[in-house]
Amino acid sequence: MKKLLLSLVVLLSFMLASPLVNAAADLEANTPAISAIKASMQARHGQLASFYTSGAIGLTKDGLIAIKDASAVPLKDRGGLNGLVAAENADRNHLYKEIATANGHPEWQAEIQNTFASRWIDKAQSGWFYQGASGWTQK
C-alpha cells in the first residue's frame, strides 16, 4: 500500500515537472525539407522586397502575404506579382506544416502559423503594410 502511494507521488511529480522540461526544449526546425523551403523563400524575397516597400503587398494576420494595392504595380507586372504571392504562400503553408510534422505534432500547424504571423509582422520593416485588427495598417 505504501509502495503504491509512493509510486503515485513519483508519478505526480513527473507530471508536474514535464511541462517545464517541455517548455525549455527547442522546436526542431532544421530538417532538409525546411532548409529547402527557407532557401526558396530567401531567393524570392529579393523580388518581393520592393513590393512590400511600395505597399503593393502586405503581411496577413494568418502568417501569409496578400496583394494590398495592385495599382502600385505597373499593369504588365501584375501577373508576375500574382504568381510570386501564390508561390510565397504555398511555401509558407508548406513551412508551417513541415515544422509541425518534423516535431511529431501535425496538429501544431495552426499554432505554428499563428506564432509566425505575429513574428513576421514584428520583424517587418517600417513602411510595410500588415493586416491589423482594423484592416491594413502601415508599420
Binding site: L27, A29, A72
Partner: protein, 71 residues
C-alpha cells in the same frame, strides 16, 4: 480489493494526463524557431530590422519616372 481500486484510479487519471502533457504546445520555443527562420529568409542580422537596407527611394512618383519618348 482496495489496492486494485487505487491502481484503476491511477491508470484512469494519470495516463490521460501524460498524453495531455505531451501535446502541450511549446509557444516560447516556437517563437524562437520562427525568429530564426525569419532572420534567415529576410536576411536580418541578429534579429535587427534592416531600416537602412532599402535607403534608395522606391516610390513610384511621376517625377521619378523617365520621360516616355514613345508617345
Amino acid at each position: 480489493m482496495m489496492k486494485k481500486w487505487i491502481l484503476a484510479l491511477a491508470v484512469a487519471f494519470i495516463l490521460p494526463a501524460c498524453v495531455t502533457i505531451n501535446i502541450y504546445f511549446p509557444a516560447a520555443a516556437a517563437e524562437k524557431a520562427a525568429d530564426k527562420i525569419i532572420d534567415d529568409v529576410w536576411q536580418l542580422k541578429n534579429g535587427e530590422k534592416p531600416a537602412g537596407k532599402s535607403s534608395e527611394p522606391k516610390t513610384l512618383e511621376p517625377a521619378s519616372t523617365p520621360v516616355n519618348s514613345a508617345q
